[in-house]
């Protein structure tokens, strides 16, 4: 119970701390808020096309029965670990794309509800890491850093470890 409450308290507490800092530093609080909120709006607009592309793809994937086939193929490995088969698509998409995994996450929430076991596990997996391949391609691409094999390998092992950990604590 206690631990769950920390999560619920974190957001309002963070707001109060930020506002105390802001009042002390005598900046124009409301102007800053409006400026930031505008950036947030622009950010939402900029991800809209990607979200439309990916959610449509995920829906088509689901309705055509392709997802079922993939889950059936991979199920033996995951049922051995007692990993719920509903989360398998998220596990595959998470390292590749943030928007793509958000698309899968929302379809999981829609089918099983965010407070179910599957919903909670998916939330934890989805919120606890960034898209590995995306980070490697932006950051290493920017400086033409070639030695990416190691980092992808290390990152995928870390990702699998963190998923097993999530399975254990969830």
């Amino acid at each position: 119970m206690m631990i769950e409450n920390i999560g619920t308290f974190s957001a309002p507490t963070l707001i109060v701390i930020i506002l105390i800092f802001a009042i002390k530093s005598k900046i124009n609080i409301f102007d800053s808020f409006i400026k930031g909120a505008k950036e947030g709006l622009e950010c939402m607009l900029s991800i809209l096309p990607a979200i439309i592309a990916l959610i449509t793809a995920v829906t088509m994937f689901k309705f055509s029965g392709t997802l079922e086939i993939i889950i059936k193929l991979l199920n033996p490995i995951f049922s051995f670990l007692k990993f719920p088969k509903e989360c398998i698509p998220l596990l595959i998409m998470k390292p590749i794309s943030g928007s793509g995994s958000n698309a899968i996450l929302s379809s999981i929430f829609e089918s099983y509800g965010p407070d179910s076991y599957v919903g909670k596990l998916s939330s934890i997996i989805s919120g606890s890491s960034e898209a590995i391949f995306y980070i490697v391609s932006t950051y290493c691409g920017a400086i033409k850093f070639k030695e990416t094999k190691n980092i992808i390998f290390f990152a995928l092992i870390s990702f699998i470890t963190s998923v097993l950990f999530a399975l254990f604590i969830c």
């Binding site: 958000n102 829609e110 030695e147």
Partner: protein
């Protein structure tokens, strides 16, 4: 990368629908998918816009700066051969704090700057790997999108998963750093 995955998904869906005789469902899926995408954006926009505003206050008031000062000692342990190089540690700090506060807009430019500085000083390799792992495992105090999505799909306690999520992020980070320290130990100055 994502382009190929996306195209493969669409083509695979078409082939599968053809085999399973579900072409009609596939057509409906296009309409339903686009509809759902717009709904998700509408559902989560409010929270994201609010938090972007809040985080801008944090940035302007010096709150973000105060957190970076707290991070400094930890960074000196993680990047031992950058210890005295402010030009590298500063962008790393901004990048990490932006990630923690969920400001991915601010995180990417400073991250690229840190990578460039490391390259200039010929300190790539192990340092870079640690830095990339930190970015991948990003611990977020307020993961706005996730919480808003949970709330809008009917969660009673949208924030409930946060502590477990933070713990999982930290496990990701520790495993990554451990792997790098074990396997890249002798190769640090090769570049």
């Amino acid at each position: 990368m994502i382009g190929k995955v996306w195209a493969t998904m669409l083509i695979a869906s078409f082939l599968c629908a053809l085999i399973n005789n579900k072409i009609n469902e596939l057509g409906n899926a296009i309409l339903e998918g686009t509809d759902q995408a717009i709904n998700i954006i509408l559902m989560t926009s409010g929270a994201i816009i609010f938090w972007s505003g809040m985080m801008k206050i944090a940035q302007d008031s010096g709150f973000t700066g105060a957190i970076s000062r707290l991070l400094f000692p930890i960074l000196q342990v993680l990047f031992p051969n950058c210890a005295k190089k402010q030009n590298i540690l500063n962008p790393i700090c901004i990048n990490l704090v932006s990630n923690i506060m969920g400001l991915s807009n601010a995180a990417t430019p400073s991250g690229i700057k840190a990578m460039k500085e490391m390259k200039k000083e010929k300190l790539l390799s192990a340092n870079t790997l640690v830095f990339l792992i930190m970015n991948m495992s990003c611990v977020q105090i307020a993961p706005t999108f996730l919480v808003a999505l949970r709330k809008n799909f009917g969660s009673n306690k949208p924030y409930e998963i946060l502590p477990k999520m933070w713990a999982t992020s930290i496990i990701f980070l520790l495993t990554g750093i451990l792997l790098i320290k074990i396997f890249k130990k002798n190769k640090i100055d090769r570049q």
